[in-house]
Amino acid sequence: MKYTLFLGCTIPEKMNGYEASTRVVASELGVELIDLPDSGCCGSPIIRSIDEHYYTLLAARVLATAENMGLDICALCNGCVGSLIHANDALKKDDTLKEYVNNVLSDFDLEYKGTIEVKHFLKVLYEDVGLARIKEHLKIPFKDDLKVGAYYGCHMLRPYEIMHHGDPERPVQMDEIINMIPGISAGDYQGKISCCGAPVLSVNPDVAWRLTHRIISTAHAADLRALITICPFCSLSLDLNQIKVKELWNLDYEIPVLHLPQLMGLSMGFGVRELGLFENRVKSAMKFTQFLLKSE
């Protein structure tokens, strides 16, 4: 299993723990990730809102670079995955758009051919590695029966007709992976498929914080011990902005937020440093190591 790894903008700037834990978990599972050279913007939902043509060109540039390597893209950010899959889908269906894009890209010695797929790391785990193989590597159990909430984020799942990744309303993939970890189970909560608010942070932060609060508060109401994310923007909303939400709503609790590969990595035997757990903003995330049942 070999992919080219596309990191996007937010992960290398402020979610290094997500990247670090992904790299060690992927390597443990035999997934080879080769960095995409000439990295750069995925097209971005914000750019798409300003000018769809420029968005499509940016996405096509990334897709064409990966095509030259002959590898499918593995991305870790829901925004990147959504941008790249939308553009890939539109370019495969619309010859006029493809011609327009290739006309512009030809000046830069690039050509979009439509030969590769874009996958979120969760999809790689669930569909390509498979639950059975993942289970073999999740060896170290957690002490108590810890119930945590899988938070998928929107652009991983919807729109289904383009993403083709499980039920857009009742997703199970991450829940099933979490349930493979001994001592941990995934629980439901009302905010599970509700937007984290990140896309409107740059427009109206009050609205964004209200959406974030909805997820944090419903996770708390369902007695969840942590929220598990697979997108840097979801993590930014739920983890980094939880401080703001806690202050605004006077919350007397906090919910640690871990990236999925961090949680998996703990059960694989990796430490706080290797998984970048010290970076997580809600510091009780670090306490998860204390729940591990260490072998004698």
Binding site: E19, S39, S44, R61, F108, R158, P159, P168, I193, V200
Partner: protein
């Protein structure tokens, strides 16, 4: 947004819809105003603002161009696509909102922060700079490899080629001159 307004049939002007309707892969006018979109919308339910995909679609059908474009509300859609999944008529409000925002940006209407975000992409190749400092943090604190250098040159030239830089006033903002 004023949601109660008398619209005379003689005033209905469908030019706004005509500006993008041919680019849609679905029938905008199939919307029968059931409100499933607004009822499913996290911003409408929890965002604390009077945001409604249903109203936006109705205003397009009534041709109230000004109410649609010169209104802060079209920028509050988070593109979570729950409304699109649930629409019984296969209308796709997030796609309509992308079209409206593209029209608005040509008229110089954008959220204040967005031209700066676009300027970052044209300058650094990413929404934010990942330079020497960030790479040092990556290597020393996280033992991560250096990030492959973004091809900011191509990204900027692509923008210039289709005049995206002009659209977001890139040169004026960054003070660059030809």
């Amino acid at each position: 947004m004023t949601t109660e307004k008398v619209v005379r049939l003689s005033d209905v002007d469908l030019r706004l819809a005509e500006e993008f309707i041919e680019d849609l892969t679905f029938d905008l006018f199939a919307c029968y105003q059931c409100g499933t979109c607004t009822g499913s919308c996290p911003v409408a339910r929890f965002g604390g603002e009077e945001f409604s995909p249903r109203n936006i679609i109705r205003l397009i059908m009534m041709g109230d161009r000004d109410a649609v474009l010169h209104n802060s509300l079209i920028w509050l859609c988070t593109s979570c696509y729950v409304c699109e999944e649930r629409c019984p008529q296969d209308v796709k409000p997030p796609e309509i909102i992308v079209k409206l925002r593209n029209i608005a940006s040509k008229e110089d209407i954008l959220p204040d922060a967005w031209p700066d975000i676009a300027a970052n992409i044209l300058t650094f190749g990413l929404m934010n700079e990942v330079g020497e400092y960030e790479n040092k943090i990556r290597q020393t604190r996280f033992k991560l490899p250096e990030l492959p250098t973004p091809d900011s040159d191509t990204i900027k030239k692509l923008a210039e080629k289709i005049k995206f830089d002009v659209l977001v006033h890139f040169k004026e903002k960054s003070g660059e001159k030809e």
